[in-house]
Symmetry: C2
Subunit: 223 residues, 2 copies
Amino acid sequence: MHRLIDNELKGLKSELVQMAKLVQMSIDCATTALQERDLEKTRETQQIEAKINQSHILVDAECVRILALQQPLATDLRFIVSAIKINTDLERMGDQAVNISHNAERYIGGAELKPLVDLPLMFNEVRWMVSEALEAFIGQSVSMAREVLSRDDRVDALKNKIFSDVIGHLKDEPSQMEQGLSLILIARNLERIGDHSTNIAEDVIFTATGQDIRHAARSKGLI
Amino acid sequence: MHRLIDNELKGLKSELVQMAKLVQMSIDCATTALQERDLEKTRETQQIEAKINQSHILVDAECVRILALQQPLATDLRFIVSAIKINTDLERMGDQAVNISHNAERYIGGAELKPLVDLPLMFNEVRWMVSEALEAFIGQSVSMAREVLSRDDRVDALKNKIFSDVIGHLKDEPSQMEQGLSLILIARNLERIGDHSTNIAEDVIFTATGQDIRHAARSKGLI
């Protein structure tokens, strides 16, 4: 049976996928800005964020509208509640990309700290998480969502390594304080983007199974 | 007329208020840990977070249940959508308090960087924002919510001042790198707590008026 709500949910999903693609572009732009010392890319990141913000408002309004008109139940209802949360996560990921672009601007303004420690590795890990979380959402795939959750520790470990490498470097070269701090803050921004990807993965699992696996299950190592 | 949903919404609000009070306690604990170099307080922050996480799961489940059973409309529906978002903000504020406690642990482990630059001032500003956002939510007060939004710039300015003061200090005393970095990260954690307070204020305005004032209105200086 074809239901009106199916079209509504399809439209909502499509809007979120478009938004997620903008988020991926903004992260790529911000990290390219840093790696290629390209100020133009920092401005581009900020332009993409404006579009993400428009989607943010649109998706929330759509969710409220569908809840009011269709009064969905079970999986449909969970999908919309998840959409409200995923929307917030995507918007914050866009904010973090802008934060990376601001930190990259500050970094580019000074002498290069060579090499960029493990930041390129961390970019790749986080890019993978974002992309896998998006695919999990598109396919409503619990197994892909679990894959995302299992990679979070690697991102945290890379962040800790970058922190200690930069601190070690700065003790010898305190004149490079601003640049070193920029790299530390970028590692922190990337960690947050990874966290938002795990939030999305948790929401995909909640929509598909009705199970809320946050906090308790994760801290008990059940996933 | 007395409606069943009024009781449901009252219960939901009361749960969120309890959760917000735990969040306030956790922020106070974490900042006291730093100011009084009290390791016991860092552990207390982490214990409070476990309770916040329980509420986080409970509130989301309640929101889904009320949406399914009561199929609310208009202000009631907006209240529940806002509750889903406020719940996320409160949980992240609890995370940030734990981040502060970890950074405080690292700071306490080394020699004191004297004075704690403008961090005590920033604590007070952020504590005010959290408390005012909570009061705005309890009273569903648009004017109090607008007050919260108007104070965000002060927090940002304090964070920037702390960053530059600590960087200046570390250039002279690179051996205190870990401690300086801890203070910078705590300033960043506090800034995020301020941001979550503004999110809550925006949700209060949305519930009361149906207006989504995020992004466009704020960037145009309309509030």
